[in-house]
Protein backbone atom coordinates (compact mmCIF):
# COMPACT_ATOMS: atom_id res chain seq x y z
CA UNK A 1 0.00 0.00 0.00
CA UNK A 2 2.85 2.32 0.80
CA UNK A 3 4.26 1.57 -2.60
CA UNK A 4 0.88 2.28 -4.20
CA UNK A 5 0.56 5.57 -2.38
CA UNK A 6 3.97 6.73 -3.49
CA UNK A 7 5.17 5.41 -6.81
CA UNK A 8 2.00 4.29 -8.48
CA UNK A 9 -0.28 7.03 -7.22
CA UNK A 10 -1.67 8.09 -10.58
CA UNK A 11 -3.78 10.77 -8.99
CA UNK A 12 -0.79 13.03 -9.12
CA UNK A 13 2.15 12.33 -11.37
CA UNK A 14 4.14 14.81 -9.28
CA UNK A 15 4.43 12.18 -6.53
CA UNK A 16 6.57 9.76 -8.56
CA UNK A 17 8.76 12.70 -9.53
CA UNK A 18 9.15 13.67 -5.90
CA UNK A 19 10.15 10.07 -5.13
CA UNK A 20 12.57 10.18 -8.03
CA UNK A 21 14.16 13.35 -6.67
CA UNK A 22 14.56 11.70 -3.26
CA UNK A 23 16.08 8.60 -4.86
CA UNK A 24 18.51 10.75 -6.84
CA UNK A 25 19.47 12.67 -3.72
CA UNK A 26 20.12 9.36 -1.96
CA UNK A 27 22.29 8.34 -4.88
CA UNK A 28 24.41 11.38 -4.10
CA UNK A 29 23.90 13.41 -7.27
CA UNK A 30 24.39 17.15 -7.09
CA UNK A 31 21.48 19.60 -7.31
CA UNK A 32 22.21 20.58 -10.89
CA UNK A 33 21.95 16.99 -12.15
CA UNK A 34 18.70 16.35 -10.30
CA UNK A 35 17.30 19.57 -11.70
CA UNK A 36 18.38 18.61 -15.21
CA UNK A 37 16.91 15.08 -15.01
CA UNK A 38 13.55 16.10 -13.55
CA UNK A 39 13.31 19.13 -15.81
CA UNK A 40 13.97 16.93 -18.84
CA UNK A 41 11.32 14.44 -17.72
CA UNK A 42 8.77 17.20 -17.24
CA UNK A 43 9.63 18.74 -20.57
CA UNK A 44 9.23 15.38 -22.32
CA UNK A 45 5.88 14.90 -20.62
CA UNK A 46 4.63 18.31 -21.67
CA UNK A 47 5.95 17.99 -25.21
CA UNK A 48 4.30 14.62 -25.67
CA UNK A 49 1.02 15.97 -24.34
CA UNK A 50 1.23 18.95 -26.67
CA UNK A 51 2.08 16.77 -29.65
CA UNK A 52 -0.73 14.30 -29.03
CA UNK A 53 -3.17 17.11 -28.25
CA UNK A 54 -2.34 18.94 -31.47
CA UNK A 55 -2.98 15.77 -33.48
CA UNK A 56 -6.23 14.91 -31.72
CA UNK A 57 -7.48 18.50 -31.76
CA UNK A 58 -7.39 18.61 -35.54
CA UNK A 59 -9.84 15.73 -35.58
CA UNK A 60 -12.00 17.10 -32.73
CA UNK A 61 -12.20 20.53 -34.26
CA UNK A 62 -13.01 19.37 -37.78
CA UNK A 63 -15.60 16.88 -36.59
CA UNK A 64 -17.30 19.31 -34.24
CA UNK A 65 -17.39 22.16 -36.75
CA UNK A 66 -18.79 19.76 -39.32
CA UNK A 67 -21.45 18.73 -36.82
CA UNK A 68 -22.30 22.38 -36.10
CA UNK A 69 -22.54 23.11 -39.81
CA UNK A 70 -24.63 19.96 -40.47
CA UNK A 71 -21.87 18.19 -42.37
CA UNK A 72 -20.17 14.89 -41.68
CA UNK A 73 -16.55 15.96 -41.48
CA UNK A 74 -13.58 13.68 -42.07
CA UNK A 75 -14.85 10.10 -41.84
CA UNK A 76 -12.85 8.07 -44.37
CA UNK A 77 -9.42 7.50 -42.83
CA UNK A 78 -9.79 4.98 -40.04
CA UNK A 79 -12.77 4.57 -37.71
CA UNK A 80 -14.71 7.86 -37.49
CA UNK A 81 -11.93 9.47 -39.51
CA UNK A 82 -9.60 9.20 -36.51
CA UNK A 83 -6.55 8.73 -38.72
CA UNK A 84 -7.28 11.90 -40.69
CA UNK A 85 -4.70 14.07 -38.81
CA UNK A 86 -2.00 11.50 -39.56
CA UNK A 87 -2.99 11.42 -43.21
CA UNK A 88 -2.90 15.25 -43.24
CA UNK A 89 0.54 15.29 -41.67
CA UNK A 90 1.91 12.76 -44.17
CA UNK A 91 0.48 14.80 -47.02
CA UNK A 92 2.02 18.01 -45.67
CA UNK A 93 5.44 16.43 -45.18
CA UNK A 94 5.43 15.03 -48.71
CA UNK A 95 4.63 18.40 -50.23
CA UNK A 96 7.41 20.55 -51.56
CA UNK A 97 8.21 23.49 -49.30
CA UNK A 98 8.13 26.32 -51.77
CA UNK A 99 9.89 29.56 -51.07
CA UNK A 100 9.33 32.72 -53.08
CA UNK A 101 12.38 34.12 -54.87
CA UNK A 102 12.07 37.52 -53.26
CA UNK A 103 11.45 36.11 -49.80
CA UNK A 104 13.84 36.82 -46.97
CA UNK A 105 15.29 33.32 -46.73
CA UNK A 106 16.44 32.98 -43.12
CA UNK A 107 13.50 34.83 -41.61
CA UNK A 108 11.11 32.88 -43.83
CA UNK A 109 12.42 29.54 -42.57
CA UNK A 110 12.93 30.64 -39.00
CA UNK A 111 9.45 32.05 -38.36
CA UNK A 112 7.43 28.80 -38.31
CA UNK A 113 10.04 27.20 -36.05
CA UNK A 114 10.42 30.06 -33.59
CA UNK A 115 6.68 30.54 -33.25
CA UNK A 116 6.51 27.24 -31.37
CA UNK A 117 8.70 28.51 -28.52
CA UNK A 118 6.20 30.82 -26.76
CA UNK A 119 3.36 28.40 -27.47
CA UNK A 120 5.06 25.50 -25.70
CA UNK A 121 6.74 27.56 -22.96
CA UNK A 122 3.29 28.55 -21.72
CA UNK A 123 2.66 24.95 -20.65
CA UNK A 124 5.65 25.00 -18.32
CA UNK A 125 3.98 27.14 -15.66
CA UNK A 126 0.60 25.36 -15.69
CA UNK A 127 -0.27 23.27 -12.63
CA UNK A 128 -1.53 19.94 -13.97
CA UNK A 129 -2.04 18.50 -10.51
CA UNK A 130 -1.23 19.36 -6.94
CA UNK A 131 2.48 18.72 -7.42
CA UNK A 132 2.53 18.48 -11.19
CA UNK A 133 4.04 21.77 -12.22
CA UNK A 134 7.25 22.08 -14.15
CA UNK A 135 8.21 25.62 -13.15
CA UNK A 136 6.25 27.16 -10.29
CA UNK A 137 7.09 30.77 -11.12
CA UNK A 138 5.78 33.34 -8.72
CA UNK A 139 5.14 35.63 -11.69
CA UNK A 140 3.34 32.91 -13.67
CA UNK A 141 0.46 35.05 -14.95
CA UNK A 142 2.81 37.77 -16.12
CA UNK A 143 5.02 35.14 -17.75
CA UNK A 144 2.10 33.88 -19.82
CA UNK A 145 1.19 37.42 -20.85
CA UNK A 146 4.78 38.11 -21.85
CA UNK A 147 4.82 34.98 -24.01
CA UNK A 148 1.60 36.06 -25.66
CA UNK A 149 3.08 39.42 -26.54
CA UNK A 150 6.15 37.92 -28.21
CA UNK A 151 4.00 35.94 -30.65
CA UNK A 152 3.20 39.22 -32.37
CA UNK A 153 6.68 39.86 -33.60
CA UNK A 154 7.16 36.30 -34.84
CA UNK A 155 3.97 36.47 -36.88
CA UNK A 156 5.15 39.78 -38.25
CA UNK A 157 8.46 38.09 -39.11
CA UNK A 158 6.59 35.50 -41.16
CA UNK A 159 4.45 38.09 -42.91
CA UNK A 160 7.34 40.41 -43.70
CA UNK A 161 9.69 37.69 -44.90
CA UNK A 162 7.10 36.34 -47.33
CA UNK A 163 7.42 39.54 -49.37
CA UNK A 164 3.78 39.41 -50.32
CA UNK A 165 1.35 42.25 -49.89
CA UNK A 166 -1.38 40.02 -48.53
CA UNK A 167 1.02 38.49 -46.04
CA UNK A 168 2.15 41.94 -44.92
CA UNK A 169 -1.44 43.15 -44.63
CA UNK A 170 -2.29 40.09 -42.59
CA UNK A 171 0.63 40.52 -40.24
CA UNK A 172 -0.04 44.24 -39.76
CA UNK A 173 -3.61 43.29 -38.89
CA UNK A 174 -2.30 40.75 -36.39
CA UNK A 175 -0.13 43.38 -34.75
CA UNK A 176 -2.93 45.93 -34.54
CA UNK A 177 -5.30 43.34 -33.15
CA UNK A 178 -2.89 41.82 -30.65
CA UNK A 179 -1.83 45.11 -29.12
CA UNK A 180 -5.46 46.22 -28.89
CA UNK A 181 -6.62 43.06 -27.19
CA UNK A 182 -3.62 42.74 -24.91
CA UNK A 183 -4.88 45.58 -22.68
CA UNK A 184 -8.33 44.16 -21.85
CA UNK A 185 -6.97 40.67 -21.27
CA UNK A 186 -4.22 41.96 -18.99
CA UNK A 187 -6.70 44.05 -17.03
CA UNK A 188 -9.09 41.11 -16.78
CA UNK A 189 -6.32 38.93 -15.37
CA UNK A 190 -5.43 41.75 -12.98
CA UNK A 191 -8.82 41.25 -11.33
CA UNK A 192 -8.02 37.57 -10.79
CA UNK A 193 -4.56 38.37 -9.48
CA UNK A 194 -5.94 40.98 -7.07
CA UNK A 195 -8.42 38.52 -5.62
CA UNK A 196 -5.86 35.75 -5.22
CA UNK A 197 -3.15 38.27 -4.24
CA UNK A 198 -0.57 36.14 -6.03
CA UNK A 199 0.66 35.86 -9.61
CA UNK A 200 1.68 32.24 -9.27
CA UNK A 201 -0.74 29.91 -11.09
CA UNK A 202 -0.50 27.26 -8.39
CA UNK A 203 -1.13 30.00 -5.84
CA UNK A 204 -4.31 30.99 -7.67
CA UNK A 205 -5.50 27.38 -7.69
CA UNK A 206 -4.66 27.16 -3.98
CA UNK A 207 -6.73 30.32 -3.38
CA UNK A 208 -9.71 28.73 -5.10
CA UNK A 209 -9.21 25.58 -3.05
CA UNK A 210 -8.97 27.30 0.33
CA UNK A 211 -12.00 29.49 -0.30
CA UNK A 212 -14.02 26.69 -1.90
CA UNK A 213 -14.98 28.74 -4.94
CA UNK A 214 -14.08 28.97 -8.59
CA UNK A 215 -12.91 32.41 -9.60
CA UNK A 216 -15.44 32.50 -12.43
CA UNK A 217 -18.10 32.95 -9.74
CA UNK A 218 -16.21 35.90 -8.29
CA UNK A 219 -15.07 37.34 -11.60
CA UNK A 220 -17.71 36.67 -14.27
CA UNK A 221 -16.93 39.88 -16.12
CA UNK A 222 -13.19 39.17 -16.16
CA UNK A 223 -13.92 35.68 -17.46
CA UNK A 224 -16.01 37.02 -20.34
CA UNK A 225 -13.47 39.70 -21.20
CA UNK A 226 -10.62 37.22 -21.11
CA UNK A 227 -12.54 34.68 -23.19
CA UNK A 228 -13.38 37.22 -25.90
CA UNK A 229 -9.96 38.86 -25.75
CA UNK A 230 -8.13 35.58 -26.05
CA UNK A 231 -10.35 34.54 -28.95
CA UNK A 232 -8.99 37.60 -30.70
CA UNK A 233 -5.42 36.98 -29.60
CA UNK A 234 -5.63 33.45 -30.92
CA UNK A 235 -6.93 34.77 -34.23
CA UNK A 236 -9.85 32.39 -34.29
CA UNK A 237 -12.94 32.84 -36.32
CA UNK A 238 -14.93 35.70 -34.92
CA UNK A 239 -11.63 37.60 -35.01
CA UNK A 240 -9.62 35.86 -37.71
CA UNK A 241 -9.02 39.02 -39.72
CA UNK A 242 -5.36 38.07 -39.83
CA UNK A 243 -5.98 35.19 -42.21
CA UNK A 244 -9.43 36.07 -43.51
CA UNK A 245 -9.63 33.73 -46.49
CA UNK A 246 -12.23 35.79 -48.29
CA UNK A 247 -10.36 39.10 -47.93
CA UNK A 248 -6.61 38.58 -47.91
CA UNK A 249 -6.51 34.92 -48.93
CA UNK A 250 -4.58 33.46 -46.01
CA UNK A 251 -2.92 36.38 -44.33
CA UNK A 252 0.54 36.00 -42.96
CA UNK A 253 1.04 32.37 -44.00
CA UNK A 254 -0.06 32.79 -47.61
CA UNK A 255 3.37 31.92 -49.03
CA UNK A 256 3.97 28.96 -46.75
CA UNK A 257 3.42 25.49 -48.11
CA UNK A 258 4.07 21.95 -47.03
CA UNK A 259 5.15 21.35 -43.45
CA UNK A 260 5.95 25.02 -42.85
CA UNK A 261 2.26 25.72 -43.27
CA UNK A 262 1.58 22.65 -41.16
CA UNK A 263 3.65 24.16 -38.35
CA UNK A 264 1.57 27.34 -38.39
CA UNK A 265 -1.58 25.24 -38.37
CA UNK A 266 -0.31 23.16 -35.47
CA UNK A 267 0.86 26.14 -33.45
CA UNK A 268 -2.59 27.63 -33.75
CA UNK A 269 -4.03 24.51 -32.14
CA UNK A 270 -1.32 24.42 -29.49
CA UNK A 271 -2.11 28.04 -28.64
CA UNK A 272 -5.79 27.25 -28.28
CA UNK A 273 -4.99 24.39 -25.93
CA UNK A 274 -2.66 26.66 -23.94
CA UNK A 275 -5.27 29.40 -23.60
CA UNK A 276 -7.96 26.87 -22.68
CA UNK A 277 -5.62 25.51 -20.03
CA UNK A 278 -4.98 29.03 -18.70
CA UNK A 279 -8.72 29.74 -18.49
CA UNK A 280 -9.29 26.38 -16.80
CA UNK A 281 -6.57 27.18 -14.26
CA UNK A 282 -7.47 30.78 -13.51
CA UNK A 283 -11.24 30.70 -13.61
CA UNK A 284 -12.32 27.07 -13.29
CA UNK A 285 -10.12 25.94 -10.42
CA UNK A 286 -7.48 24.03 -12.38
CA UNK A 287 -7.08 20.51 -11.03
CA UNK A 288 -9.38 21.28 -8.06
CA UNK A 289 -13.13 20.57 -8.32
CA UNK A 290 -14.99 20.78 -5.01
CA UNK A 291 -13.55 17.54 -3.64
CA UNK A 292 -13.79 15.49 -6.84
CA UNK A 293 -9.99 15.46 -7.09
CA UNK A 294 -9.80 12.96 -4.20
CA UNK A 295 -11.43 10.33 -6.45
CA UNK A 296 -10.25 11.32 -9.91
CA UNK A 297 -6.63 12.24 -10.78
CA UNK A 298 -6.19 16.00 -10.79
CA UNK A 299 -4.64 16.07 -14.23
CA UNK A 300 -7.66 14.24 -15.68
CA UNK A 301 -9.97 16.88 -14.21
CA UNK A 302 -7.68 19.55 -15.57
CA UNK A 303 -7.66 18.09 -19.09
CA UNK A 304 -11.42 17.68 -18.91
CA UNK A 305 -11.86 21.35 -18.05
CA UNK A 306 -9.35 22.28 -20.71
CA UNK A 307 -11.39 20.55 -23.37
CA UNK A 308 -14.61 22.05 -22.03
CA UNK A 309 -13.14 25.51 -22.64
CA UNK A 310 -11.77 24.35 -25.97
CA UNK A 311 -15.30 23.31 -26.92
CA UNK A 312 -16.45 26.91 -26.31
CA UNK A 313 -13.77 28.13 -28.71
CA UNK A 314 -14.85 25.60 -31.35
CA UNK A 315 -18.45 26.65 -30.78
CA UNK A 316 -17.50 30.29 -31.40
CA UNK A 317 -15.70 29.29 -34.54
CA UNK A 318 -18.58 27.23 -35.83
CA UNK A 319 -21.32 29.77 -35.25
CA UNK A 320 -20.00 33.32 -35.44
CA UNK A 321 -19.22 35.29 -38.59
CA UNK A 322 -16.02 37.28 -38.93
CA UNK A 323 -15.75 40.81 -37.59
CA UNK A 324 -14.65 43.63 -39.84
CA UNK A 325 -11.25 45.12 -38.91
CA UNK A 326 -12.65 48.41 -37.61
CA UNK A 327 -15.43 46.65 -35.72
CA UNK A 328 -12.89 44.42 -34.03
CA UNK A 329 -10.72 47.36 -32.98
CA UNK A 330 -13.76 49.33 -31.81
CA UNK A 331 -14.90 46.34 -29.77
CA UNK A 332 -11.55 46.15 -28.01
CA UNK A 333 -11.14 49.85 -27.28
CA UNK A 334 -14.73 50.96 -26.76
CA UNK A 335 -16.29 47.97 -25.05
CA UNK A 336 -13.77 45.57 -23.52
CA UNK A 337 -11.28 48.15 -22.25
CA UNK A 338 -13.76 50.32 -20.27
CA UNK A 339 -15.47 47.23 -18.90
CA UNK A 340 -12.17 45.75 -17.77
CA UNK A 341 -11.11 49.02 -16.11
CA UNK A 342 -14.41 49.12 -14.23
CA UNK A 343 -13.83 45.51 -13.23
CA UNK A 344 -10.36 46.25 -11.87
CA UNK A 345 -11.68 49.21 -9.85
CA UNK A 346 -14.47 47.04 -8.47
CA UNK A 347 -12.11 44.24 -7.47
CA UNK A 348 -9.68 46.69 -5.88
CA UNK A 349 -12.54 48.15 -3.82
CA UNK A 350 -13.75 44.71 -2.77
CA UNK A 351 -10.32 43.46 -1.81
CA UNK A 352 -9.75 46.68 0.10
CA UNK A 353 -12.99 46.22 2.05
CA UNK A 354 -12.11 42.58 2.66
CA UNK A 355 -8.63 43.16 4.02
CA UNK A 356 -9.17 46.51 5.73
CA UNK A 357 -12.10 45.40 7.89
CA UNK A 358 -10.68 41.86 8.25
CA UNK A 359 -13.96 40.24 7.31
CA UNK A 360 -14.16 36.47 7.08
CA UNK A 361 -13.90 35.02 3.60
CA UNK A 362 -17.00 32.87 4.04
CA UNK A 363 -19.05 36.02 4.66
CA UNK A 364 -17.74 38.38 1.99
CA UNK A 365 -17.01 36.07 -0.94
CA UNK A 366 -20.65 35.06 -1.58
CA UNK A 367 -21.67 38.73 -1.37
CA UNK A 368 -18.87 39.72 -3.74
CA UNK A 369 -19.90 36.96 -6.11
CA UNK A 370 -23.53 38.06 -6.22
CA UNK A 371 -22.60 41.75 -6.50
CA UNK A 372 -20.13 41.02 -9.29
CA UNK A 373 -22.60 38.90 -11.21
CA UNK A 374 -25.31 41.57 -10.93
CA UNK A 375 -22.91 44.36 -11.87
CA UNK A 376 -21.50 42.36 -14.78
CA UNK A 377 -24.97 41.83 -16.20
CA UNK A 378 -25.99 45.44 -15.61
CA UNK A 379 -22.73 46.77 -17.09
CA UNK A 380 -22.91 44.64 -20.21
CA UNK A 381 -26.56 45.45 -20.89
CA UNK A 382 -26.21 49.13 -19.98
CA UNK A 383 -23.02 49.57 -21.93
CA UNK A 384 -24.45 47.86 -24.95
CA UNK A 385 -27.51 50.12 -24.82
CA UNK A 386 -25.37 53.23 -24.45
CA UNK A 387 -23.11 52.23 -27.32
CA UNK A 388 -25.92 51.52 -29.72
CA UNK A 389 -28.21 54.39 -28.73
CA UNK A 390 -26.93 56.79 -31.33
CA UNK A 391 -26.96 54.07 -33.94
CA UNK A 392 -30.59 53.26 -33.23
CA UNK A 393 -31.61 56.92 -33.09
CA UNK A 394 -29.94 57.88 -36.34
CA UNK A 395 -29.94 54.73 -38.43
CA UNK A 396 -27.63 54.83 -41.39
CA UNK A 397 -29.12 53.74 -44.67
CA UNK A 398 -26.90 52.18 -47.27
CA UNK A 399 -26.23 54.68 -50.05
CA UNK A 400 -24.72 54.35 -53.44
CA UNK A 401 -21.19 55.66 -53.68
CA UNK A 402 -22.28 57.93 -56.54
CA UNK A 403 -24.79 59.70 -54.28
CA UNK A 404 -22.27 60.98 -51.79
CA UNK A 405 -19.58 63.44 -52.76
CA UNK A 406 -16.64 61.11 -52.88
CA UNK A 407 -14.11 61.46 -55.68
CA UNK A 408 -14.31 58.18 -57.49
CA UNK A 409 -11.12 56.63 -58.79
CA UNK A 410 -10.65 56.73 -62.54
CA UNK A 411 -11.79 53.51 -64.15
CA UNK A 412 -8.66 51.66 -65.05
CA UNK A 413 -8.02 50.86 -68.67
CA UNK A 414 -7.00 47.39 -69.63
Amino acid sequence: MALLANWYDLRDLGNPVARLIEALQDAGLSGGWIFAITGLLGAIGILSFVGVAAVIDIWIERRLIARIQVRRGPNRAGPFGLLQPIADAIKLIQKEALQPDAADGIMFTLAPIVIFIPAILAFAVLPWGEHMILADLNVGVLFILALGSTTTIIIFMAGYASNNKFALLGSMRVIAMLISYELPTVLALLGVVLFASTMSLSGIVAFQETHWVWLIFLQPLAFLIFLLGSTAELGRTPADIAEAESEIVAGFHIEYSGMKFGLFYAVELVNVVAVSAIIATLFLGGWWTFGLETFVPGWMIFIGKLYAVYFIFIWFRGTLPRFRVDQLMAFAWKVLLPLSIVNVLLVALEVFIWTEYELSAGLVLPIFGIVNFALAGALIVGFGKAMTRNMERFPKRPRLVADIDVPLPEPSTG
Binding site: D104, M107, L137, N138, V139, L142, F143, L145, A146, L147, G148, S149, T150, T152, I153, F156, M157, Y160, M172, I175, I179, E182, M199
Partner: protein
Amino acid sequence: MLAALTIGAAAMLIVVRNLMHALLFLVLSFVGVAGLYITLSADFVAVAQVLVYAGAISVLMIFAVMLTPRSSRDNAGNMLQLPALILSGLVVAGVTFVALETDWREAGRGSFESTATEIGQALLSPFVLPFEIASVLLVAAMIGAIVLVRED
Protein backbone atom coordinates in the same frame (compact mmCIF):
# COMPACT_ATOMS: atom_id res chain seq x y z
CA MET B 1 26.51 32.43 -22.69
CA LEU B 2 23.59 34.81 -22.16
CA ALA B 3 25.96 37.74 -22.20
CA ALA B 4 27.47 36.43 -25.45
CA LEU B 5 23.97 36.13 -26.91
CA THR B 6 23.04 39.63 -25.81
CA ILE B 7 26.20 41.30 -26.98
CA GLY B 8 26.35 39.27 -30.18
CA ALA B 9 22.79 40.21 -31.04
CA ALA B 10 23.52 43.84 -30.22
CA ALA B 11 26.61 43.78 -32.43
CA MET B 12 24.68 42.19 -35.29
CA LEU B 13 22.03 44.86 -34.80
CA ILE B 14 24.61 47.47 -35.74
CA VAL B 15 26.28 45.48 -38.51
CA VAL B 16 23.36 44.21 -40.60
CA ARG B 17 22.18 46.46 -43.43
CA ASN B 18 18.56 45.31 -43.47
CA LEU B 19 16.61 47.36 -40.96
CA MET B 20 14.09 44.60 -40.30
CA HIS B 21 16.87 42.14 -39.49
CA ALA B 22 18.33 44.74 -37.16
CA LEU B 23 14.99 44.98 -35.42
CA LEU B 24 14.84 41.23 -34.89
CA PHE B 25 18.37 41.20 -33.50
CA LEU B 26 17.26 43.95 -31.13
CA VAL B 27 14.44 41.68 -29.90
CA LEU B 28 16.95 38.83 -29.46
CA SER B 29 19.17 41.06 -27.40
CA PHE B 30 16.17 42.12 -25.26
CA VAL B 31 15.43 38.46 -24.60
CA GLY B 32 19.08 37.92 -23.70
CA VAL B 33 18.90 40.77 -21.20
CA ALA B 34 15.78 39.16 -19.72
CA GLY B 35 17.78 35.95 -19.31
CA LEU B 36 20.48 37.91 -17.48
CA TYR B 37 17.82 39.27 -15.12
CA ILE B 38 16.68 35.71 -14.40
CA THR B 39 20.20 34.69 -13.43
CA LEU B 40 20.15 37.68 -11.06
CA SER B 41 16.96 36.16 -9.56
CA ALA B 42 14.96 39.22 -10.59
CA ASP B 43 12.13 37.24 -12.16
CA PHE B 44 9.59 40.05 -12.17
CA VAL B 45 11.95 42.41 -13.94
CA ALA B 46 12.86 39.67 -16.43
CA VAL B 47 9.27 38.94 -17.35
CA ALA B 48 8.46 42.64 -17.49
CA GLN B 49 11.47 43.08 -19.79
CA VAL B 50 10.08 40.49 -22.21
CA LEU B 51 6.55 41.88 -21.94
CA VAL B 52 7.48 45.52 -22.43
CA TYR B 53 10.58 45.47 -24.61
CA ALA B 54 10.32 42.29 -26.68
CA GLY B 55 6.54 42.55 -26.87
CA ALA B 56 5.55 46.20 -27.02
CA ILE B 57 8.57 48.36 -27.84
CA SER B 58 9.52 46.15 -30.78
CA VAL B 59 5.99 46.47 -32.17
CA LEU B 60 6.28 50.23 -31.83
CA MET B 61 9.53 50.08 -33.79
CA ILE B 62 7.92 47.92 -36.44
CA PHE B 63 5.27 50.58 -36.88
CA ALA B 64 7.94 53.26 -37.08
CA VAL B 65 9.87 51.30 -39.73
CA MET B 66 6.79 50.39 -41.74
CA LEU B 67 5.51 53.97 -41.77
CA THR B 68 8.84 55.38 -42.94
CA PRO B 69 9.03 54.67 -46.66
CA ARG B 70 12.79 54.97 -47.19
CA SER B 71 13.80 52.92 -44.18
CA SER B 72 11.86 49.80 -45.05
CA ARG B 73 14.58 48.35 -47.26
CA ASP B 74 17.94 49.62 -46.13
CA ASN B 75 19.64 51.91 -43.70
CA ALA B 76 19.39 55.41 -45.01
CA GLY B 77 22.64 57.37 -44.98
CA ASN B 78 22.54 60.89 -43.58
CA MET B 79 24.67 63.63 -42.07
CA LEU B 80 24.36 62.51 -38.47
CA GLN B 81 27.14 59.92 -38.51
CA LEU B 82 29.77 62.04 -36.75
CA PRO B 83 27.49 63.37 -33.96
CA ALA B 84 26.14 59.85 -33.41
CA LEU B 85 29.69 58.51 -33.10
CA ILE B 86 30.62 61.20 -30.57
CA LEU B 87 27.45 60.68 -28.54
CA SER B 88 27.76 56.90 -28.41
CA GLY B 89 31.43 57.22 -27.51
CA LEU B 90 30.48 59.46 -24.59
CA VAL B 91 27.82 56.95 -23.45
CA VAL B 92 30.30 54.06 -23.61
CA ALA B 93 32.85 56.10 -21.65
CA GLY B 94 30.26 57.01 -19.02
CA VAL B 95 29.03 53.44 -18.56
CA THR B 96 32.60 52.09 -18.36
CA PHE B 97 33.54 54.72 -15.80
CA VAL B 98 30.52 53.90 -13.61
CA ALA B 99 31.09 50.15 -13.93
CA LEU B 100 34.72 50.48 -12.91
CA GLU B 101 34.06 52.87 -10.04
CA THR B 102 31.14 50.99 -8.43
CA ASP B 103 31.81 48.74 -5.47
CA TRP B 104 30.34 45.42 -6.68
CA ARG B 105 30.87 43.40 -3.50
CA GLU B 106 27.26 43.76 -2.36
CA ALA B 107 26.17 41.46 -5.20
CA GLY B 108 27.12 38.53 -2.98
CA ARG B 109 24.12 38.87 -0.67
CA GLY B 110 21.18 36.48 -0.77
CA SER B 111 18.48 36.49 -3.41
CA PHE B 112 14.93 37.71 -2.88
CA GLU B 113 12.20 35.21 -2.21
CA SER B 114 9.53 36.91 -4.28
CA THR B 115 10.48 40.07 -6.13
CA ALA B 116 6.97 40.92 -7.34
CA THR B 117 5.69 41.52 -3.80
CA GLU B 118 8.77 43.53 -2.87
CA ILE B 119 8.46 45.73 -5.94
CA GLY B 120 4.75 46.26 -5.39
CA GLN B 121 5.20 47.29 -1.77
CA ALA B 122 8.14 49.51 -2.62
CA LEU B 123 6.19 51.25 -5.37
CA LEU B 124 3.11 51.89 -3.28
CA SER B 125 4.60 52.82 0.09
CA PRO B 126 7.95 54.66 0.00
CA PHE B 127 7.94 55.56 -3.69
CA VAL B 128 4.26 56.34 -4.17
CA LEU B 129 4.89 59.98 -5.17
CA PRO B 130 7.28 59.25 -8.09
CA PHE B 131 4.96 56.42 -9.12
CA GLU B 132 1.97 58.76 -9.28
CA ILE B 133 3.99 61.45 -11.04
CA ALA B 134 5.03 58.91 -13.66
CA SER B 135 1.44 57.82 -14.22
CA VAL B 136 0.23 61.42 -14.53
CA LEU B 137 3.04 62.08 -16.99
CA LEU B 138 2.05 59.04 -19.05
CA VAL B 139 -1.61 60.06 -19.08
CA ALA B 140 -0.60 63.56 -20.18
CA ALA B 141 1.54 62.09 -22.96
CA MET B 142 -1.32 59.85 -24.09
CA ILE B 143 -3.83 62.72 -24.17
CA GLY B 144 -1.28 64.84 -25.98
CA ALA B 145 -0.82 62.16 -28.64
CA ILE B 146 -4.58 61.87 -29.10
CA VAL B 147 -4.94 65.66 -29.40
CA LEU B 148 -2.12 65.81 -31.96
CA VAL B 149 -3.66 63.24 -34.28
CA ARG B 150 -7.29 64.34 -33.97
CA GLU B 151 -8.62 65.42 -37.29
CA ASP B 152 -11.41 67.81 -36.28
